[in-house]
Symmetry: C2
Amino acid sequence: MPATIKDVAKRAGVSVGTVSHVLNAKPGEFSSSTRERVKDAIDALGYHPNRVARSLVRRQSMAIGVSFVNHGASLADNPYLADVLDGMINAASEDGYNITLYTRLPPDDEARHAPLLLDRHVDALCLVAPNVESRLPRLLLRARVPFIPLIVVGVEKPFPDVSWVDVDNFAGSRAAVDCLVRAGHRKIGHFAGPTHQKAALQRLEAFKQAMADASIPLREDWIVTCGFDSRIAYSAATRLFNQEDRPTAIFAAHDETALGIMEAARDMGVRVPEDLSIIGFDDIREARLANPPLTTIRQPAREIGYTASKTLVSMLSGAITSPYSKLFEPILIERSTVSQPFE
Amino acid sequence: MPATIKDVAKRAGVSVGTVSHVLNAKPGEFSSSTRERVKDAIDALGYHPNRVARSLVRRQSMAIGVSFVNHGASLADNPYLADVLDGMINAASEDGYNITLYTRLPPDDEARHAPLLLDRHVDALCLVAPNVESRLPRLLLRARVPFIPLIVVGVEKPFPDVSWVDVDNFAGSRAAVDCLVRAGHRKIGHFAGPTHQKAALQRLEAFKQAMADASIPLREDWIVTCGFDSRIAYSAATRLFNQEDRPTAIFAAHDETALGIMEAARDMGVRVPEDLSIIGFDDIREARLANPPLTTIRQPAREIGYTASKTLVSMLSGAITSPYSKLFEPILIERSTVSQPFE
DNA sequence: TATAGTAACTGAAACGTTTCAGTTAAGGCG
DNA sequence: CGCCTTAACTGAAACGTTTCAGTTACTATA
């Protein structure tokens, strides 16, 4: 058995209360002799305070819970998640919080997530990129728990009164389309992301609007929905390139998709950017290394994660009391996949 | 205040013990009427069991602690970490464990890590890629705590009696050198990783040995130490390419480094693989997309993380009692940066 | 010399569960 | 009818801390 505070107290010849006090070192109290005796006992016994017991009485665990709600998505496949988490780690570390990854959530049954998330094991909760039809924010908010700070990352306005941080997908998509239009393109297609993702929906919507604003008629057959999957994008692109009348530029809602399109282009002898301009979204690590390097819209994912964690801590300290929300400005990263159309 | 088990008991008109029992649903006991009443009370009050209290009495938290000990390395910059963590998440999820990321460790003072890690907040500990001079495994092992399962990832034999999983760096480096030798190279250089990393040291050592085994004399001036940093690799490579007598092939201890070398080559007009063959190590996501795609040695990072977590759980259940260790076989991924030398 | 004030410490009640040792009531059996 | 067994439930101790309300033992003040 590990040594407890009682063992320390007994060995040092003081009460448990005293040990607790010197451990939590209230400013300058306690005679140095007592303090020394306690410290000696701690060292001799190899005592480490039990954080669980402390959490129970203090009613805080100094941990922030993170749930990657969007079911299949894994850290290894989705650099966005890793970046967000990285930002959260940095912020939490500054504030003295640990991060607990909730892994045990049955993917099929969201109703059973809430009890698991609300077990007071963590002081605050962050939901990363939940699906658009996710009922979880609602369930959590409705649950009869006094107030556990909650923030959603990667979904704008997931539910009234729920805090959130996200990138401005509208501004990003508009910047992408504008970039293509500025280069002289008018035959522009769009490869949309998965329909269960709010971000993908927003990017599609913004694409349509930006096209309208540029007075370019929409070609529905140039809008393809291909999810995240670069292989589906590959085959969809191949099909598109076989058409007689094809776009001179494509805005892909995700870099993965853009990469798939570029691969298809290479295999079909379509030159990028001479025959086809491409612009992506997200600026994943591979984008810079693509051949040619991919022009894209960068999401400040680490900053987003950082802000999410900082916000939760502010909510815990009471510095923020009303729901918080923030839209981050995306950044156009101009590399080499956009040029003027040659035809 | 959130409802407690007492509130539920009172409302259902039973004792707290009964509520606890129906919550933990011992097989088939309890009349259905009592069970119903308790369930109704739980729903009515929106009660969620407090996991902290449960952890205290059960003496287990159902969480595995993970510490990225190697100080600066972050999830976003180091895909290896993300992959290992991803594997751990999958395994932990299968076994009903959560994962707690220890973020609050002062990077300067390892001696103070042990108390934080041993706070019984987690049931088992995983140290990912500690530096070679890290005293942490020793400190943890020596700490006067009865037995908290511990495993180290990414360092072979970090300390006697400490469990570990790692990739076989020797076999990997040998495979890399063999690949180059097989292609006909004899003028082979090596870009080594950071000296505080055991993996980098092993790869360097294995490089030397493989060269000796192939009876190729070592050229010390073709061995450069450049850490992880692709920019340092870039400038070191630039310097190397300016030399009269330069290698026809380079084995880089990390893909990041290899990518830096390739960039330098491109800028200096050195063609890859015609003028220079390159082989990396790790198979990071960018490797596949490099131009040309990078030949490299793949580390099964997810599998490593998965195994680490599974091993910890086995130790917790008592299925494994003695220190466990496993070396994973690396895989040669042949892409397009290795060809025969032209001279 | 009594009184007040303070510094240093103590004891015990929380915190919200689980679990162990009982207790009660009902049913079965001779 | 009394006794035993069992099912169903209860009460309280325990888990390891923090913290609040005291209790000493001094020292300073009047």
